[in-house]
Symmetry: C2
Amino acid sequence: MAESELPPGSECVEGVLDLLGLLAYATLSAFFRLTDDAAAAESLSDKVALAGMAVDEHGHFLRVLRRLAELHADPETAMQPFVQAVDEFNARTTPSDWLEGLVKVYVGEGMAASFCRAVADLLDPRTQEIVNQVLAGAGQADFVVARVGQAVEADPRVAGRLVLWARRLVGEAITQAQRVVTEREPLARLLAGGDAGQLGKITRILATLADEHSHRLAALGLAGHSAAR
Amino acid sequence: MAESELPPGSECVEGVLDLLGLLAYATLSAFFRLTDDAAAAESLSDKVALAGMAVDEHGHFLRVLRRLAELHADPETAMQPFVQAVDEFNARTTPSDWLEGLVKVYVGEGMAASFCRAVADLLDPRTQEIVNQVLAGAGQADFVVARVGQAVEADPRVAGRLVLWARRLVGEAITQAQRVVTEREPLARLLAGGDAGQLGKITRILATLADEHSHRLAALGLAGHSAAR
């Protein structure tokens, strides 16, 4: 299958494997976070809905694994370099309640989507296709927007707390992303278009994560709220 | 669809809905337990394998939900009466490590299978078929047997602890099952073949759970070990 292989000797092969490895471990972790949220949901209908979203997320994980298999890459070897950064992000952003858990899933997915859109034109067409499929699921967003809206309506003070929480999530994500591109030269080279020294370009990509964050807060109905407790 | 409906006015309809409701919430809970075990696994390959088993378990849950939908039953209404018993079983049997979590999944699935086999001939053919499909997945067992075997080989003292743990799981499960059949008359009537007063028959069904437990311990390679720490 010609389209399933990168050009032999392509400088970017290792970078693409890095990106897929990161995406694989990130989607596997998102699956675990969603099942945590599902288990913590008070109503049976929320529990069932979130369990279904978790299983969809696992489907994304399997799609990324399949692309790694097409490229003859061992999935564990590809994921391993990113385990620490993703786990540390999760350890530093433990939600204190169900609502913070939901916002974490939403903000996390949003940042992953922004990041992948920013780098999509650097990928081979087949990998681009997989990445787009993985990011296509918008069902989570509708659910989170509805539940956050209800919570803010019931107690408007919740909004300020969630704005603070979302800001912390973005900060921690950028910290871990900076660390990953510092440690993983193949990924840094892919992101910089071949020159790992171009830290300016990489930092600009990370900056888009923060830029688009305000749009996500607006979609959550939190844009007009100040970040005060 | 004639086969998807129970005979109208059948005395057992409510009992079948109870059984499906119990099975639905039990499989949903097993999904959460498997994802907990997956998240706690140290190696990436165990993590990936257990996450896949969790998603299979969610497939079982969806199959039960589909049968409830065929019977025009609301899934939440069907599950609600069993939430407390299943949650209490889980709260009273929190694994202290990953290995106990694995044994819990294995013993829990085994008991559910024994229970359903014991009542299968009381069900309509279509519900029987669903129940058999749900219990068919043997992939979990192979995985658990392999991991427990490795752990016992590395430290034979582990075996005694796991035998004790498995015994506690069976005891707690029978306690909760007794409570469920005491509280849910439709289910009790189904199990007793129409007469809820036949507690002897019901208790004999529960006794099969304990009987088959020794076979499960043997399959885990724990049969020859005493239950001493």
